[in-house]
């Protein structure tokens, strides 16, 4: 997409662990009683990646894989348990506080993300005013500009969210995020709750704005065909870890991790030439509980290529081909499989 190779977004060894927050007293009591530490959940485990300016990274995986948590760490909504995120050389968080407005998020559900009792124009103006991007006097023009940019009639700014359809609400959510002049936009399942015909409209709006504003984006979705369409690079996550990372076309046509291959096989598809592909090949079993993940490579119990080594040693994310890396002991064997049709 973009010719620039300099890194714009850097995610450096980021982990996010959720566990009960204990008070000092509780900790002392537990220590004195020699109780084991309470269980904790590793939602994101040692993720490192970079993204160049103007590029879009697709984050894919099944529910519970940690893609939304990673998105929220990048957005500065969650503080990482370790590691750091920088955008354009600036840290997103310091001492557990978000210190930049450079990252903004569009959430999945525009019914939940907009305050039902706030006029949509005020919702768009609130952030820019609070952060001194525009004065209260200028805010009206600012809102009108962004309403027009996302294809909404600016005269509707005085209405409330319930007066809009799902697709329009998502446009408002996009306007609200962009009105902050972000350097990085996180889209967390922005089209998942929309109908097919409306989904296409919102994706087109996204493509258009991205080109006009040269936006750098992280696009989180469980829908592989949408991610294929909008991303330059894609990261596949499984139980908190990135298992494959690379150029989108390569990952989708020549996956090097068995999980990516299995995920692609699960997608029902209608082939381009009107040929109907009826059969999907489901992955066996279900994603295990992240509270108690299997040892070694977490995908081992469901993996057709698993060997003893897989549960003994965690495979590191390593380069398999130019522009493509995978965390699998058998990545070379997986890559030797014939190229597949696109999703």
């Amino acid at each position: 997409m973009s010719g620039a190779t300099d890194t714009y977004l850097t995610i450096d060894n980021v982990s996010k662990i959720f566990g009960p927050r204990l008070t000092m007293g509780e900790r002392i009591v537990r220590g004195a009683m020699r109780k084991p530490p309470p269980p904790s959940l590793t939602a994101v485990s040692r993720v490192s990646l970079t993204l160049a300016k103007g590029q879009t990274l697709g984050l894919v995986g099944e529910s519970g894989c940690g893609k939304s948590t990673l998105g929220r760490v990048i957005a500065g909504i969650y503080a990482p348990s370790s590691g750091a995120v920088t955008v354009d050389g600036q840290k997103v968080m310091e001492d557990g506080r978000k210190i930049t407005t450079a990252v903004q998020t569009v959430f999945q559900d525009p019914f939940a993300s907009l305050d039902p009792r706030m006029k949509v124009g005020d919702a768009v103006a609130e952030g820019p005013i609070a952060h001194g991007i525009v004065s209260r006097a200028e805010s009206r023009a600012h809102v009108e500009k962004w309403f027009s940019r996302v294809g909404l009639d600016p005269t509707l700014a005085g209405r409330y969210p319930h007066q809009f359809s799902g697709g329009q609400r998502q446009r408002i959510a996009i306007a609200r995020a962009l009105a902050m002049n972000p350097k990085l936009l996180i889209c967390d399942e922005p089209v998942a709750s929309l109908d097919v015909s409306i989904q296409a409209q919102v994706i087109n709006l996204f493509l258009e704005l991205r080109r006009e504003l040269n936006l750098t984006c992280v696009f989180i979705s469980h829908d592989l065909s949408v991610v294929r369409h909008v991303s330059d690079r894609v990261a596949v996550m499984y139980l908190g870890r990135i298992v494959e990372l690379g150029e989108t076309r390569q990952v989708f046509t020549r996956p090097t991790h068995p999980y990516t291959a299995a995920l692609l096989d699960s997608v029902p598809r209608i082939a381009a030439e009107g040929e109907v592909l009826m059969e999907v090949k489901p992955i066996s079993g279900e994603i295990p509980s992240p509270l108690n993940p299997p040892p070694g490579c977490h995908f081992t119990p469901r993996c057709p290529r698993a060997t003893a080594e897989c549960s003994a040693r965690i495979p590191p994310l390593r380069s398999i081909a130019p522009g493509q890396s995978a965390a699998c002991h058998h990545a070379e064997a997986q890559m030797a499989e014939p190229e597949r049709a696109e999703v």
Partner: protein, 328 residues
Amino acid sequence: MTAVLEVRDLRTEFFTAAGTVRAVNDVSFSLDEGEIIGLVGESGSGKSVTGFSLLGLIDAPGRITGGSVRLNGSELVGMSRGELRRRRGREIAMIFQDPIATLNPLLTIGQQMGLALSAHERLSPKATEDRCTEALERVGIPSARARLKSYPHEFSGGMRQRVAIAIALLHRPKVIVADEPTTALDVSIQAQIVTEMKMLAREFGVAMIWISHDLAVVSGIASRILVMYAGRIVETGTAAEVLRNPIHPYTRGLLDSMPHATRPGEMLRQIPGSMPSMLSLPPGCAFAPRCPRADAACTAVPELVQQGGRSWRCVHPLTQPDHEGATA
């Protein structure tokens, strides 16, 4: 093939304070033994209300105001509530989208399956347990007998949907209406459920109406597709034919707006506008305001045309099958 379900000119209306909504408008189709048909449409198209109407599950202010639903030859429309209850679950069953909302959180899986069984059959506790275990095993739930004592929250989303399927299959109904049964699930689990449902349908000869907004999923399970828009069926045909040679511009629009129809990174071919409010439908063809082929002729409701195993409601069809059913 004999039809187990015959729907003729079905009409369901909701009488609201804001006006009358005709959610299902002259819907007709038939379902053969063991056949799986896909009912496709966007939100508000009336596909779910069609499904509910088949089981007589329409509550006030809604009412079935016309047409007929014949299940194994007997008319369901106008049947007494008691008589309907005797058939629901035994002859025709339903699977809903959200298995969390379907299952009672306060009862164990075994208790609710037992209730479903006792609605139509008198069995000893031992026989009930055996039947339930067998039903859970059939849908691929491991250590089924032990899981009967589990509560719904102890199951994953995919497993809960399997339980709902097991309950629907308990009485070996002739027809199952599945309303978006995999929409809430991950793709990998969706693929498992689709594969299993196909197998179960074949094994038991149960006919199925698979309601979904997702053409790709439907193409993976249904042999025939019905496309709905604003309460009407606008196109029908075999899955392969509808997907390869859509006749109605709306179907074409749906297929074109899917990401894989366009090269990555390029603008998708979107359908302009959105579904009209059911309270103020445009006169004639409801799709006309969004349709690239619309003209003055579209202000009259298009007649249903049937030809070569396909049917459509459009005065400007994209293609027309000859009498053998092949499309140009």
